[in-house]
Amino acid sequence: MSARRLLPLAGAIGLAVLGFFLPRLLGGSTMVYDTLVVIAIFSAMSYGLDIVLSDLGEISLAHTAFFATGAYAAAILTARYGQSAWVAMAGAILASLALALVLGLITLRTREFAFSLVTYAAAIVCMNVASNWDFLGGSDGIVGVPPLDLSVGPIALTAGQSFEFWPYAYALLLLTIYFVYRFRRSSLGQAALMVHMNPRLATMCGLDGNRVRLQVFLVSAPISALAGWLYAFQRSYVGTDLFDTYFLVLMLTSVIIAGRGLLLGPLAGTALLMSQKSFASLGAYGDKLVLGAILVAALCYSPRGLAALWPRRRLKVVEASAQASSVRSQHG
């Protein structure tokens, strides 16, 4: 392995290790741990939307439903049926895949605003069903989700308190980022970008646009669902508030605010937004107002994200390499 590839790898590992000790570096109070856990979970949730929004170029408004599906699956399997967290994890993935398949097939031929309208309506219908169906706890939700227990054989892996929870949330975040990184280099990721940027060229290259769209949608859903799975254990309660537009706007804002397509963009965006909520909160309504205002301001004054405000060579390199790789895959 050449030094050119080794250096970024070492940098990434260094950053990942540093990130793990971040709560301790910030003082290690419960407040710090809680905030960072929530940042990790909500960033993971946002990455699900990120690959649909940034790579496929469609605005899915149903990712709150995937997030909630993961949380509900975890809560029902552990609190009601006494299953382990691992089974709940599998349940969250399968349930979100099923929902994504149905939604993906319904929206297969819709584009742009029709796609967004239908996914938005679908999220509302999911909330409607969750608040009326007793199996999903109705409007009371499901209480009494047990503490997270991922023990395998003799290795005890449990988390109750917020500082015990951090390693799991952080691991989920790292895995998600690594997954998105791999996705962008996979043939599906490249295909998604081409279908987004130049659909006609994609067709000429023998790519089936609808198929790529459906696949990306299916890949994105379990990412948000896994975040929901962990969130259910962190809160030990799930309810219809998971469908709130707050989560939707939070996801969209975190993906957009730093800059679409940047690997660490959603993480930076979520960190910024959740820090405001934790350390400079203006109450629930004030926070909604701030969140909405940030989203509106970001898009109206810097649609390409905060990163575009200080144009650096590095960003240009990333864009150039993205173009080069799409050219490569066109020829390949």
């Binding site: 031929r109 605003f113 509302i124 219908v125 409607n128 069903v129 706007v249 926070d287």
Partner: protein
């Protein structure tokens, strides 16, 4: 169960749906803009009227006018914010901005009006009219008449005035309209202000039927989507027919099947229409007809 009563309810609710959707139909038809803040604008319209009555003690009809002005102002502010994106036709960003705008309205409304449910008291809500076994309120009559008047007026405005011609030109091709010497920023301003005013007007007429909450914008918007999509995106006459049909559908579904799953049934209807006539989801050429 009186089926005829349900049909009457359906006609009333249908006119409510159509009236709530009319501003958005115009916005979508003329500016190709999907407004996800529409539900929150509805909520603010209802609360503006409530707040005005509470603060000034003036009667309901004056509050309706005040709410319309607030609505038009919100529409105008939105147009100022979105100007650059509208002109560049960046539809993806526009859609997300309207979501953020709705979130802002909800937060601001929560701060201003508080978290408790309120009642927008209309004196016409308690006046009931009975015809045999069928009954409805004077408020319902006003709602139906107002919806018909607004739709007819809009049709007239679009087809018989100079401003209407400009709106139809902008809908076809904004760049060309500008070349024709028309200030398209002002046309867009008119369209947005109409959207705001129309949804606020609708809210003041519809909201007295139920308690109002600052969080009600979220699911309010789903029926509006369906009305707009069923009517053929951006078609004015289509929205009216679609609103009416949807009203009858929800009234009968709620009465005969299950009131709790009405939203889900409406969504199923949307899917069915999309599957049967996918072409309808393309921007319609039938605007202003």
């Amino acid at each position: 169960m009186n089926l005829l009563q349900q049909v009457v309810n359906g006609i009333i609710i249908g006119h409510a749906y159509a009236l709530v959707a009319v501003g958005w139909t115009m916005l979508l038809g003329a500016a190709r803009l999907v407004n996800f803040g529409h539900g929150q604008m509805y909520m603010v319209g209802a609360f503006a009227a409530w707040w005005f009555m509470r603060m000034t003690g003036l009667p309901y009809p004056v509050a309706v006018v005040a709410a319309i002005l607030v609505g038009a102002l919100i529409g105008a502010v939105m147009q100022r914010l979105l100007m650059r994106l509208t002109l560049s036709r960046d539809l993806v960003s526009l859609m997300i901005v309207t979501l953020g705008f709705g979130q802002m309205l909800e937060g601001a409304a929560g701060l201003t009006f508080g978290p408790r449910p309120q009642t927008l008291a209309s004196p016409f809500q308690s006046m009931t009219l009975h015809f045999g076994a069928i009954w409805f309120t004077v408020q319902d009559v006003i709602l139906v008449v107002a919806a018909i008047v607004v739709f007819l007026a809009l049709r007239l405005l679009l087809n018989a005035t100079k401003f209407g011609t400009a709106v139809r030109m902008v809908a076809e091709d904004p760049a060309l309209t500008r070349l024709a010497g028309i200030d398209i920023a002002r046309v867009y301003m008119g369209i947005f202000a109409f959207e705001g005013a129309a949804v606020a007007f609708a809210a003041t007429l519809v909201a007295p039927r139920t308690p109002i909450l600052t969080s009600m914008g979220f699911d309010q918007v789903v029926t509006t989507f369906v009305v707009v999509v069923l009517g053929g995106i951006g078609s004015v006459a289509g929205s009216y027919v679609a609103g009416l049909s949807l009203g009858l559908f929800t009234a009968l579904f709620g009465a005969l099947v299950s009131p709790a799953y009405t939203t889900a049934a409406v969504f199923a209807l949307l899917i069915a229409v999309m599957a049967l006539r996918p072409g309808q989801l393309a921007a319609s050429a039938n605007f202003a007809r």
